[in-house]
Symmetry: C2
């Protein structure tokens, strides 16, 4: 199936866009978390969102979930690790599936554009963002896995089932992965090493660990690495007032387009992006 | 008192901005209607505003009014008829009062930029937008009054107390002004006549009525006529992504900046404008 639009992210900008696109009867492929935005969830009180006075983050997310369900919208909990422009639109890699969409809306939140040194250079050459996609390449091998959030531990588990030895790095405590072949947090990663392919990781204390591959699993992939050629300014996706990026058919909304990192701003941009997408799709149909 | 910001309009963009500016402890002079946006009020259902599912317009305005009260925000029900840039910021004429503000946020809604032929040219020369300000100039005279909405009939009444004869034009039926010296809707205005000053109005049937002055009372004054030199494109105030207009210290948000005419878009722009204003004010203080 070729979707009208693929939305990446389930924060306020994405919700606003999805509600509007659904009203316009567009087919929507929506990637994210059914729990919605962790940033909203962790907000104590939101005092300046018109219409919902002094709401707590969890309560707002609950209202959102109800509204999403009422609208008949569905969320796919696969992480999108790669987007490629094609002649007909976009191909998206979500887990080990490939999806096809006419347009893409990036609502990826505020993501640090910084990866580990060497990460961007060696991506696709021993560095992977997707356990399900590339794990099969490493049976009996030694790999390093950076697991950026507790909810991705199942990916680390999966990799540990395949590989002989796993150096697992987590930025949080109480990692739940307990396996004999997993060495948990031998230090902090300073860089990924290798010339034409990943060969090791360097730790902050200077230790070098030799590995055959490195998996970097983060809650969100920085958009500049998600879609090649996307114009980025610092950490922000560059958009105009219509929320168009430099790639035709690709739009962005919410924190990923820059400050202010605010609910109302995100919701507004999602709405504008949805309208621009509707217009773009109607022009596609005329061609 | 010199206010940090004057907000013109009480629709969703203005409410969003006011809530945010209040959180930042800015002094706010807020012009509009305590009933808030008539456009929201007339909405049957709003299906795509995240957080408030399938809300009716009157219910949403009720939620807004509660939130405005909780936030301790106050609305001044005077119509702003003129804004002038000064060396220190802006001077605003609201009714017969003059106000002083460091910044201005225009949330004037979608207003047709078209006035009557002759209106813009003769403004200040026999054409006035403000009964309270200029009515005293016409004791015993003959004037034409265009009253654009029922709620401004008190201004027409006021003018009829001063002038000897009033040609009153209303775009709606059931005008409540009944006075001996008022000639109600002798036709429709085609143009305001006069070279250096207003001398008459021409009706659509070609009749010419000689008058000494013309009052044009509309729910909103087109922003291009409100603030001289403001950059306008068609009916829209030109803004950048920070909601800055071409006039330093003057911002705009909501329907007045163009399509999509949507609640979420307005709310988002109000939020962004508020943050830009906070930043601008902090830079002013450094000077």
């Amino acid at each position: 199936m070729r979707y009208d639009v693929a939305i990446i992210g389930t924060g306020p900008a994405a919700i606003s866009a999805a509600l509007t696109l659904k009203l316009h009867n567009k087919t929507i492929l929506w990637f994210g978390s059914k729990k919605l935005s962790p940033k909203v969830e962790l907000s104590e009180r939101i005092a300046n969102y018109p219409g919902v006075a002094m709401v707590t983050g969890p309560e707002l997310n609950r209202l959102y979930r109800e509204q999403i369900e009422q609208a008949g919208l569905e969320i796919t909990e696969r992480q999108v690790t790669n987007i490629a422009s094609t002649r007909r639109g976009f191909m998206l890699q979500g887990g080990d599936e490939i999806y096809d969409a006419k347009t893409v809306l990036l609502c990826t939140g505020a993501v640090s554009p910084k990866g580990f040194p060497g990460e961007a250079e060696l991506l696709g050459h021993g560095v992977s963002y997707c356990a399900t996609c590339d794990g099969f390449l490493y049976p009996g091998k030694t790999i390093a896995v950076y697991c950026g959030a507790k909810e991705f531990e199942h990916e680390a588990e999966y990799l540990a089932e395949i590989a002989a030895k796993v150096y697992l790095f987590t930025p949080y405590a109480d990692c739940g992965v307990k396996r004999e072949n997993v060495i948990l947090n031998p230090g902090k990663i300073r860089a990924i090493l290798g010339d034409s392919a990943a060969e090791g990781v360097e730790l902050q204390d200077g230790t070098r660990l030799d590995v055959d591959g490195v998996f970097v699993i983060r809650p969100a992939v920085a958009p500049g690495r998600l879609l090649r050629g996307l114009e980025i300014d610092g950490a922000n996706i560059v958009v105009n007032r219509r929320m168009e990026t430099n790639k035709p058919g690709c739009y962005a909304a919410g924190d990923c387009t820059g400050r202010p990192y605010q609910l109302a701003k995100a919701v507004g941009e999602g709405n504008v992006a949805a309208h621009s997408i509707v217009e773009y799709l109607s022009q596609l149909e005329c061609k």
